[in-house]
């Protein structure tokens, strides 16, 4: 099953639709609540990252018998130092983003914690593609 969603820069208020849809489908499939939570949390974090840092992007979700694969691709500044970004507490979020309760530097570490496979392709000045896999069985 395939789902596509668009990401709008700075629209924190409407973020979360993709994860809600994924959650609904995974519930229908009878996936265990813990795995659903991991997928939903990871996807939401990745979406918020794109909303906060990028100029826009897309979310593609594929669910099959074994796994849910979620690809969040954005056009944005890219991540100059991925190693630093993976550290808890490291953040380049603007004060405005922090005021909204985001930007605590937990995004990428939290995604890593909640996924079985994580791949980040990033190019400074071009954008970032985050590919996340959560195994269902």
């Amino acid at each position: 099953m395939h789902y596509t969603f668009t990401i709008e820069r700075g629209n924190f208020a409407d973020a979360g639709q993709a994860s809600s849809n994924v959650k609904r489908t995974l519930k229908q499939l009878g996936v265990d609540p813990a795995s659903i939570k991991r997928a939903v949390v990871a996807l939401f974090e990745a979406e918020i990252n794109a909303v906060a840092h990028a100029y826009g992007g897309t979310i593609d979700v594929d669910i099959d018998a074994e796994k849910v694969m979620m690809v969040v691709a954005d056009e944005g500044p890219g991540i100059p130092n991925l190693e630093l970004a993976m550290q808890e507490g490291w953040s380049t979020a603007s004060p405005q983003v922090r005021e909204m309760g985001y930007g605590a530097g937990m995004g990428l570490p939290n995604i890593k914690k909640n996924t079985d496979e994580l791949k980040i392709d990033t190019k400074v000045g071009v954008g970032t593609t985050v590919t996340m896999i959560v195994k269902l069985v």
Binding site: G16, Q28, L29, G30, I63
Partner: protein, 449 residues
Amino acid sequence: MPTGEIYFKHSLRVNDYLCQGCTTCMRTCPTAAIRIRGGKAVIADNKCVDCGECMKACPHKAIYIKQDDFGLIENYRYRVCLVPTAFIGQFDTKYKTKAIYSCLLKLGFTHIYEVEHEVARMMELYNMYMEDHPEIRTFISPYCPAVTRLIQVRFPSLVDNIIHVRAPLELASRVITQKLIDEGARRESIGVFYVTPCAAKIAAVKYPVSGKPTCVTGVINMDFLYNKVMLMLHDSDRNAQPINHTLNSRDVQWSLSGGEAPHFKGAHYAVDGLQNVLNFLEKLEDETVDAPGLVEMRICDQGCVGGVLTTQDRFVARKRLEYRAQLFERLERSKLRETPPEDLTLTPQWIKDMEIAEIKPRSIYKLNDNYAEAFKMAEQMKKIEKALPGVNCSACGAPSCAALAEDIVRGDAKMDTCIFINQNSDSSRDATKRIWGDRITAKNNKKEQ
């Protein structure tokens, strides 16, 4: 109707004679448990959480709550009326609490016990549970039984956030029963009758989530008792017998939304009203809100004074309880009334009785126990949803197009139950198009959301 094992029964019933099949209840139900079949509303046992929203919404008074026969109380020598303060909130403050209670005694009860006597003990049980589970960040109060059931069916990942303690009325019935036994009564001669403001509390007594036996003998609907008392209050108000009732000012307001806050030291959130509860649980499940501490949730707006079996406007009833609490406070401060001592005695037996070993998740979304089959069904459902008009007209007997799609994949409905699809003349198709345009194309051209 959806097939599968029936988990438990409910207190909400449809009166087929009064039901017009108008779909109002069906559209209100938070778990899509209602369908129209044969022109009448039918409630699915597996999905219903006894929230009572359907009954509140019904314009024909066709949904009712089955109560125990009032005559049942005559079978007991000790007849306890277990009453929540929401009942007192039904009455104008010109009536003294003791006047209301003496009417209950005249009706045949021998003892009156307020559920709110158990506030301190309940809070102690909550605290014990919370201390035992430091790994849980957000605790959900088990106060409203409809919330617990809603979580079981719609938010199964949150069942472990619920404090696993049974309803206050269970503790209250045990405490008063023990008190009477201590005074010399025989166990079999004691009948405890709870006055319920809602359907969920009846279900909690009759079909408890804990699966453990109840100590409540019977349940009486609040509106029924209100009518009886009102008739008597009018002619015998002045002859009220003094009653030694000992609730303190704080506990009087426990059943109101926010009522648990003063009893809890940590961070506390009060969420009331069905839509607010649904939104909050959704966010809690997605971890898009962080709410460390205790969340108290009431399905009914304002708390129990908004229950479907109450008779008075909930805002007025709330004010009345607040007024009574203020009055008690003034009297306590000026020493005209003693502040009742807090009784924190909890026997090992009570602690054991009040425990819930497990709150089982029982998702209503799961399409099939077999993953591969569920996958196929989910795919099919997505396709069907695309082909349906998305008007949610309910003419098919399901609350929404999504619900119809689910019914179809479950084999409970057919595609041609949709009146948009099943049109056999050009003129009817034209008429539909004039109102709705080309639904299917318009809907699916929109970017997938």
